[in-house]
Symmetry: C2
Subunit: 230 residues, 2 copies
Amino acid sequence: MSNKKTAVVLLSGGMDSSLCIAEAIEAGFTPATMHLNYGQKTETRELKSFHDISDYYGIEKRLVSDVSYLTQIGGSSLTDDAVDIEKADLDSKEIPSSYVPFRNGNILAIAAAWAEIIGAEALYIGAVEADSSGYPDCRRSFFDAFEEAVNLGTKPETNLKIITPIINLSKAEIVKRGTGLKLPFELTWSCYSDSEKACGVCDSCALRLRGFSEAGVVDPLEYKVRPKYD
Amino acid sequence: MSNKKTAVVLLSGGMDSSLCIAEAIEAGFTPATMHLNYGQKTETRELKSFHDISDYYGIEKRLVSDVSYLTQIGGSSLTDDAVDIEKADLDSKEIPSSYVPFRNGNILAIAAAWAEIIGAEALYIGAVEADSSGYPDCRRSFFDAFEEAVNLGTKPETNLKIITPIINLSKAEIVKRGTGLKLPFELTWSCYSDSEKACGVCDSCALRLRGFSEAGVVDPLEYKVRPKYD
């Protein structure tokens, strides 16, 4: 293990970021996992998934950071109790209210700092451009620009690649790829709204369930409501 | 005031960032000031300067954010109690131990999120490339790359200019410009080490005192030790 290069993997606990660990291992890296608490409603549940999945993959280096300044800045249903979680409208082209301004920019900035400290050479983030909710900071053009900014703004010996292995995958393709790599879907958590059983109706649950349905795979998680997607 | 465009000004409480408020006003913006606590040794003293200076300029919108995850990531004498503050060596070409990995990247990411929420069109940061301590994230090439990343990673209607009005100034030129704009130097704080009287010997004090000396202006702050720079 010690000769392998290190990759920081951003791990929310959802299935997209979990697949990134498997992809980093496939690519020959030793993953170091990083999780961010930012006052999201399901913070504790996501943290449990972070550790369950990190344990499953035998990850030694882990960092959990509190970035609750995002709550303070507000303006989003993910972090502001005054804004209700919207029910999913998967056909909408508008930026959803679960948008946190420049969230991936903030996440990547922290991850880049940690990557420099531990000497990592790659940074995996499970952003999905094609089948996501339209966040502007999920596009590869954004990651390319950010990668350049990171390499200009860190020490000369720091050279980080920002790797987005699933950016062009649909949720169904993520399910299929994860199934092939024996991803422990039962340990992951995607719901934005609930922490005991997944709600089944928030954007994130809806995208997940539709992806499983399209892949012809049964999601092993329990749901309060399990809408049908055909 | 209400027809003016808003500029987020990052205000540590030091004289460089304070000069940025004056420059933003000169350029026709209404400043909104943002301060970050990140577990630095002089956090309370810097926060006092932030409010004193914001009061002086009549700033209505202010945001103080805790970003102490930077302490947790560590690796720097500014945020890690285990690392002693180095005495200044102004001729050294090495990156000093007060380096916080990708600090400006992290700071700008937060500021960009707030700027989007309040509809600001500019973001002022008092980085100094020529006469600073050699931080890689103080170069204009970094800010250009980051500006592009911000505009790619935020909503289409967000269009932020990152303005670095003092990036090519020496500390002496900052003192002269600040004197011309009636900057309240007595309200600012630069020392990394002490909070009652400025120590006079840390990197930041040394750069400040040398700048005043070269400008032929007397620094109104009290110092424990006031080395001579000729």
